[in-house]
């Protein structure tokens, strides 16, 4: 079912075709460094380009890789799947360099590239601000620099960081997010500061990918337990490409312990589930469950909120086949909320736009 023309696709990935495309967006020092040092680029290893998950077969570009072409992306995401707007989450590796300065240079280049090569060329596109997570002060600077452009509707971080996101040294970023009305989107990906699991590096790529669900759990636990939502009540966290169905089981467990040991975290003054339902949102793809309407219904019941899910195709990653990104079995009344109302309520900058 193509979504309605006012649907908002909250997780779409434009590719950086090659380093050359980014070079105009670095300053002279970094352009020279990249050349002198023979740096081949900053692409991440998180989605190996040829792996079947990284690009859906019928969405591969001419070179067999991901869509690095504006028309290719918009013809699929907007025209074919039927969305009126899409939020671009560029997964290029600004978070990878160990040098803070290099991180800043790549983040700035990516944000400038996305604005010029994508947003300027199609008014239906919006984007997330990529930040140099190597240094929180620099993250805040980059947010303040880019936020003036209202087409940037979110700040995006990868899930696997050096430290859990609730830790207080991250908080200046949350203050900046609140100030600019920007939700923070968490997307699978790693800064490769920690092993892919809490027990080390798995053998297979499929394990790496499955393990991102655990990173989402840990980050959500950290944000709640450290009191980030008590300190920043307007803070919105959007879990992008999270898998969704792990959430109820995670909350049952955390809530049980919260009832038992809440004296340790007295600032968590309401049940974790309540915090999640007011401050956390999840994009619908992937929806980790069998293609079975009965189970979809059960999961919607376990999630216990009509406001929490946001439409997303996760283009060009493979998460589903065909043209319907919504799992079978969603109640009709919920579909409109997922496609239109919930994204608009989540991203204040999309509301402004509608006026």
């Amino acid at each position: 079912m193509p979504a309605s023309h006012s649907a908002i696709d909250c997780d779409v990935h434009p590719a950086v075709p090659n380093l050359e495309a980014l070079l105009p967006h670095f300053d002279d020092y970094w352009r020279n460094s990249i050349d002198e040092r023979g740096i081949p680029g900053f692409e991440t290893n998180t989605y190996p380009p040829r792996a079947p998950l990284s690009v859906r077969d019928d969405w591969r570009g001419k070179n067999g890789g991901a869509a690095a072409d504006l028309t290719q992306l918009t013809s699929q995401v907007l025209d074919r799947l039927g969305a009126g707007k899409a939020v671009l989450n560029c997964l290029y590796g600004a978070h990878l360099p160990y040098s803070e300065d290099m991180g800043v240079a790549v983040a700035r280049a990516v944000n400038n590239y996305v604005a010029k090569e994508w947003l300027d060329r199609d008014p239906r596109l919006r984007a997330s601000i990529v930040v140099p997570t190597q240094n929180i002060e620099y993250c805040v600077d980059e947010v303040n620099r880019v936020a003036a452009d209202k087409r940037f509707v979110q700040i995006m971080l990868v899930t696997n960081q050096e430290t859990p996101l609730g830790r207080r040294h991250w908080w200046p970023l949350f203050a900046a997010a609140e100030k600019h009305d920007l939700p923070i989107g968490l997307h699978p990906g790693s800064a490769y500061r920690q092993a892919m699991t809490s027990l080390g590096w798995p053998t297979y790529y499929v394990e790496d990918y499955v393990a991102y669900a655990q990173a989402f759990q840990s980050q959500l636990g950290s944000l709640i337990c450290e009191g980030a939502f008590a300190k920043f009540p307007k803070l919105k966290i959007v879990l992008l490409e999270s898998g969704v169905t792990w959430l109820p089981g995670f909350l049952w467990r955390l809530s049980k312990f919260w009832r038992g040991v809440r004296a340790e975290v007295p600032w968590v003054d309401r049940p974790p589930g309540e915090i999640v339902r007011s401050n956390v949102r999840l994009t619908i793809q992937p929806f980790d469950a069998p293609d079975d309407p009965e189970i979809t219904e059960q999961m919607v019941d376990h999630l216990d909120s009509d406001d929490i899910l946001l439409y997303a195709s996760d283009f060009p990653h493979w998460q589903f086949d065909g043209d319907d990104a919504l799992p079978r079995g969603l109640p009709e009344s919920l579909k409109k909320k997922i496609l239109v109302d919930n994204p608009r309520a989540t991203y204040p900058r999309l509301q402004e736009d509608a006026r």
Binding site: P164, L199, E226, F257
Partner: protein
Amino acid sequence: MNIELRQSDIRSNSKLKIVDVDIHPKISVEDLKPYLSKRWWDHLQTYGQRTRQGYLKGFPYPKMQPQASRRDSWPPDGGLPASNLAFMKQQFLDAYPIEYAIMNPLSPTGQGDQNSEFSAAMAFASNEFQIEGWHKRDNRLLASVVVPFEDGEATKAEVKRRAGDNRFAHVLLKTRTNDLLGKKQYWPVYEAAIEAGLPVGIHVFGTSGRPASNTGWPSFYIEDMTEHASCCQAQVVSMIMEGVFERYRELKIVMIEAGFGWMPSLGWRMDKNWKKLKDEVPHLKKAPSEYMREHIWVSTQPMEETDRPEQLLDTMKWIGWDKIMFASDYPHWDFDDPFLALPPSLDENKRNMIYCGNVRALYRLDA
């Protein structure tokens, strides 16, 4: 939680038999002395245990109550919780219709110690003491084969020593291992367990030396507790994807104190991605969730508490009524009362399976 016992109700209600797969009778360092060589006793006295964490005493994440135990579990005439058999009988073993209870000693057992020879010596001593100090005084208390799991050969030797001794219920690992449990270095543990005809119980905790999450060290005990579930997810994925269950088809794994609310979603996530990435793991012959359902058992405590009871039943049904076994975790603070823990709407048949049927079959308690 600290639940006050309602002795009269319990007596009048009890027709059931219960096998509890997780209790923690105390073992002290001095208890182990008779079973340690002079060399290792001296080592323990001089250098202590070195378990990849920084504190000389206590835990990396301090508990919220002394000994992480129910405040009413301290014996009236002194000693630590679950150190006094008479009081443990009065408060737990005789207060409920406990037919058997499986002891899972957590510390001091040397598991995960940086010195693997010391770890092996401590495992031997822990196993001797479980029999001499506990089982012989109350034969409802079944022992675990504590093994130095980071050393495959030493583990094999310890399991072989206990093989055929039906006072031992399972081979005991902790969840926070040095590396993922699917890796080849742990395969000797599975071979040994199968040869001895024992399931492998994996109890939460241990110190791997790695951050408790894949995004770094959390700050709080509440997160440490919650992260046990993420750790168990990583372990189950590793065992399945590495083909452990394809290679060791008789292997039976019991996840202890891990909860189980994480299982359905994990099974679905693995299946979905496996379908697309099959060529990377050609050694798998069926969907990952099928291995999970065939080879993984779970214990109930700490049982998830859902907003509505049907939600818990949905989850339990997916895991399989034949795979869930009752555990109380006596004497720890989050003890689940045998009479209050299970959802009231469960029918008698399912109740019986969880209280004792499944465990009797898995552990061959009638053999």
